[in-house]
């Protein structure tokens, strides 16, 4: 498809603007004035519509394809939620910050406050900030809170410990806050190696960051022990809640000993991923960390909700206003719509679906960590590699069959990883059809690997030259 710029015609107009109802002003000073208008597209509205409708049709998406992308929880995005967010679209965030302004946005503040309360109960934490705008932002915020905690206590801390199975954002977030990273290997049983962990711990460790179930989809039965060990060194325990979908109503990280947690509303709580965002990554903390939460915080008083904008202990701000409010509206709606029973069923069915897929593919692919999994299972295409077939080839073949591939090559500790997260919103029939294609791919790896190497052939483009892209760095039309 042409780029929208390639469809431009000088002088063609899209949307018309409202007429001016005020007198002409003295012209904007020439010295400050732009000489050439920015070369934005000049297209009619019909061309605009055809262009972006056409582009949309070049995407796989949950609404068009099964999307078992591991670690991403690509569950169905309930349509009613899309209708809820616009109800809150017209309200200006600065209103809340004006003197007496809170009175004029009680609905918005109530939602934020109540969402925080619900998330605290779901995760077992004492208080929640909804400011972080994605999982990684939550991690960074959480680590900042931990740093503030240590600073306030006069602790001298230098390190953050992460397992080697952790998501890349964990070490990256900790590093951004200024910590050095200590990586602990995974034991053959799929969890962080406990002995290595003990060896890595010392009083300079600020925090341990864990995902549980981890990125192998396995629940670490030793997490309480790990938390206890960390706490002995006055290291805090950070829980990456990206995989919370697996344990809703079953385990609360707060109960186990975690001090800080972020949740990905765009994973566990059913808000759409938007082709890469926006998400929302609220952070829950235990009591000791409440003083450090970013501002403004919301307090429920007798006469309504008010903002706290001043607190010298706070880490400050991580977003301009209240974070990705519109995303939170959807997550809030999701939680109150599903309710207690519904959320429990979510984790149960997510785990059932993952174990079912695992049981049906285990004879066809290597299963490096062969245990009951939680919400996702991680295979390896190691066996297929013997015939020269990579995880990537299988992924591309799936595309031709109408399936979005699972996550491949992550976690990094599994060679040729194929990480499958079906989510609870898929039916057995969909899983069975997917399983059949995965088996077919395994068969082709033996009988006709070339088909897999050539895939995909049904898309607008075949495999793309990533090296050329990185070399030429054409990231903007000239």
């Amino acid at each position: 498809m042409k780029l929208i710029y390639e469809q431009s015609r000088a002088g063609r107009r899209g949307v018309r603007l409202p007429a001016a109802d005020v007198p002409q002003a003295t012209p904007f000073p020439a010295a400050l004035r732009r000489t050439d208008a920015a070369a934005l597209p000049e297209v009619s509205e019909l061309d605009l519509v055809r262009h972006f409708t056409g582009l949309s049709r070049r995407n796989f998406s949950v609404d068009t394809n099964f999307y078992p992308l591991g670690s991403c929880t690509m569950k169905y995005n309930v349509k009613a939620l899309e209708n809820a967010a616009p109800l809150f679209a017209p309200f200006h965030p600065m209103t809340a910050l004006l003197p007496t302004g809170e009175k004029f946005v009680q609905g918005s503040l109530a939602m934020l406050h109540d969402l925080g309360g619900l998330l605290a109960e779901i995760t077992g934490m004492d208080e929640v900030t909804t400011q972080p705008m994605a999982g990684a932002h939550g991690e960074m915020t959480g680590i900042m809170l931990i740093a503030a905690y240590h600073k306030a206590k006069g602790n001298k801390k230098k390190y953050v410990v992460v397992p080697d199975s952790s998501h890349g954002t964990n070490p990256a977030s900790a590093a951004m806050v200024g910590y050095e990273i200590v990586t602990v290997p995974t034991a053959p049983y799929g969890d962080m190696d406990l002995d290595a962990f003990r060896a890595a711990m010392n009083d300079e460790v600020a925090a341990v960051m864990m995902t549980c179930p981890n990125t192998l989809g396995l629940f670490n039965p030793h997490i309480k022990e790990i938390c206890d060990i960390a706490h002995k060194h006055d290291a805090l325990c950070y829980y990456d809640g990206a995989n919370l979908n697996a344990i809703l109503g079953k385990v609360r990280p707060g109960d186990v000993g975690f001090d800080v947690i972020h949740v990905n509303l765009h994973k566990t709580f059913g808000t759409p991923h938007g082709g890469g965002g926006p998400g929302s990554g609220p952070v829950g903390v235990k009591k000791d960390l409440i003083p450090f939460l970013p501002l403004p915080t919301i307090r429920k008083a007798e006469d309504g909700y008010t903002l706290v904008t001043d607190n010298p202990a706070s880490i400050g701000r991580t977003a301009n206003f209240f974070g990705n409010f519109g995303v939170m509206v959807k997550a809030y709606a999701y939680i109150i719509m599903l309710g207690r029973e519904g959320l429990i069923r979510v984790s149960e069915q997510a785990v059932l679906n993952a174990n079912y897929v695992m049981s049906q593919l285990r004879e066809y692919y290597d299963l490096p960590y062969d245990q009951t999994c939680m919400h996702e299972c991680v295979f390896s295409a190691g066996r297929q590699l013997k015939n020269g077939v990579h995880a990537l080839d299988i992924a591309k073949y799936l595309i031709d069959q109408g399936y979005h591939p699972p996550t491949v090559y992550f976690p990094l500790i599994v060679k040729e990883a194929i990480m499958i997260e079906p989510t609870e919103t898929e039916s057995k029939e969909t899983l069975d059809a997917f399983i059949a294609v995965m088996r077919e791919a395994a068969g082709l790896a033996q009988t006709d690997p070339e088909v897999l190497h050539e895939a995909p052939v049904t898309m607008p483009v075949t495999r793309l030259d990533e090296t050329k892209a990185a070399r030429e760095q054409n990231v903007c039309l000239g």
Partner: protein
């Protein structure tokens, strides 16, 4: 009637699946979780149908004042949004997709983001853009960190006329790093140029400014750019994209890193989010950009296609050595920004900026003509300006709010000594009638 849970498997299917797995019950699948780790509480309300839900959400939204007339900005602006923006960004294939990791089945998102990057480059006059950051504030902080990386230095000079929120975010982001942050307070509501230049030195990584300023003033940044460059520092500018229909582009003025908030481009106010942050720079710094970048390439038969590129900068490859921790960004909001810009178009953006300027000039004139009121800005303004009132601005705002007018942002909340100053915003959505009403109410309150 049970509530909605969107789990499709029927009881019969669950039984079949359990049998296939070889376990007796769903509970058995949770056996890896020791009993003592089980949730101690899960006290959540009962669920409901989507119909009850929407009624509930409506009544919640109804608790917000519905008829407030805004003259507030502070980084978020009440602009028109063409209907096509909602319709097109509302295509399910866009909003229910993940990050385009598999390019062959994600060309829609990838091409759109490439077009977005191009729009940002053309708007700002820069050479390269990423595919979005969280918001304008965090983009400002990312720009600071980028400047630190690029220069290998550890000192930042920040103009006090930058949004107090953005300045706070930088301080928060860098609180645990060994970075010195020097803020030069405004003089009479304008940047203290001499002070800024004086604060620059060979240890400075960047001079960081905002244009228009928090008070609404528009400046030529060329002189500051030259001063920064003279000591080997970068000039970082946060800009308001709609103003770029009228104002000289940052690229023309010598800015090295341009950031800003994309809310004004087709994203609703939505109580502060989601919007998107943009960041653009010159080509030589591309490897230091944070976040995802889309690049053009070709497929096996030479057809043009787009991919995520230079991923070696990113956390999922480089882990703690990444240029940033950002993973999910604000893709759909950036898409809205692109559709907005393509809908308004080349001439339209100029018209839109002119319309904002014209309305604000009218408001500045009628409000400035009120007895005892004076305009603070010495420099030209775009669609925001600052008034000095004969009373505490906070009191005036409180009073006007009672009449459902949000008259502006009291500067004193963020700037000591400016308690009598009010920052007023007038977008194209404010009618002359509303402006006249503000003048009337303000006059009455003084």
């Amino acid at each position: 009637m049970s509530t909605a849970d969107y789990c499709p498997n029927t009881p019969a299917e669950v039984r079949e699946m359990l049998a296939a797995i070889g376990v007796a019950s769903v509970d058995d699948l949770f056996s890896p979780i020791p009993a003592d780790l089980r949730a101690r509480s899960f006290e959540l309300p009962e669920g409901m149908s989507e119909f009850e839900l929407l009624a509930r959400m409506k009544s919640l939204a109804a608790k917000n004042a519905q008829a407030l007339t805004h003259f507030i900005g502070g980084g978020y602006y009440d602009h028109v949004i063409p209907a096509a923006v909602d319709h097109l960004s509302g295509r399910a294939e866009f909003y229910t997709a993940y990050t385009p990791y598999q390019p062959e089945c994600s060309q829609g998102t990838l091409q759109a983001l490439f077009e977005y990057q191009t729009a940002i480059c053309r708007l700002t006059g820069m050479e390269v853009s990423n595919a979005s950051l969280y918001d304008g504030g965090s983009a400002f902080a990312e720009a600071a960190m980028m400047a630190l990386r690029v220069t290998g230095r550890s000192r930042l000079v920040i103009d006090g006329c930058v949004s107090p929120f953005a300045r706070q975010i930088v301080r928060t982001y860098l609180a645990n790093q060994n970075v010195e942050i020097v803020e030069i307070p405004p003089r009479d509501g304008e940047p203290d140029r001499a002070g800024l230049i004086a604060a620059l030195g060979t240890e400075s990584a960047a001079l960081m400014v905002q244009n228009p300023t928090f008070f609404g003033s528009v400046h030529d940044l060329s002189e500051l750019a030259a001063a920064a460059h003279a000591v080997g520092a970068l000039l970082v500018a946060s800009v308001y994209p709609v103003s770029l229909g009228l104002v000289k582009s940052p690229g023309e003025m010598g800015v090295d890193i341009v950031v800003g908030d994309g809310q004004s481009l087709g994203n609703p106010l939505s109580f502060g989010g989601p919007s998107f942050g943009f960041i653009a720079t010159v080509k030589k710094y591309i490897r230091n950009l944070p976040g995802r970048i889309i690049g053009e390439t070709v497929d096996k038969s030479g057809r043009r296609g787009f991919v995520l590129t230079l991923q070696a900068r990113e956390q999922h490859i480089k882990r703690h050595k990444a240029t940033s921790n950002i993973c999910s960004n604000q893709s759909l909001c950036a898409l809205r920004g692109l559709i907005f810009l393509a809908s308004v178009g080349r001439e339209g953006l100029v018209e839109l900026a002119e319309l904002n300027y014209r309305k604000a000039e009218y408001a500045k004139a009628v409000l400035g003509a009120i007895k005892g009121v004076e305009v603070v800005n010495a420099a030209p303004t775009f669609n925001e300006f600052t008034l000095r009132l004969p009373k505490k601005a906070a009191d005036v705002v409180t009073r006007l709010l009672k009449g459902q007018i949000a008259a502006g942002v009291p500067a004193g909340d963020y700037y000591p000594g400016m308690d009598d100053c009010l920052v007023v915003t007038v977008t194209e959505k404010r009618s002359r009638e509303e402006i006249d009403m503000l003048a009337k109410q303000l006059g009455g309150a003084l």
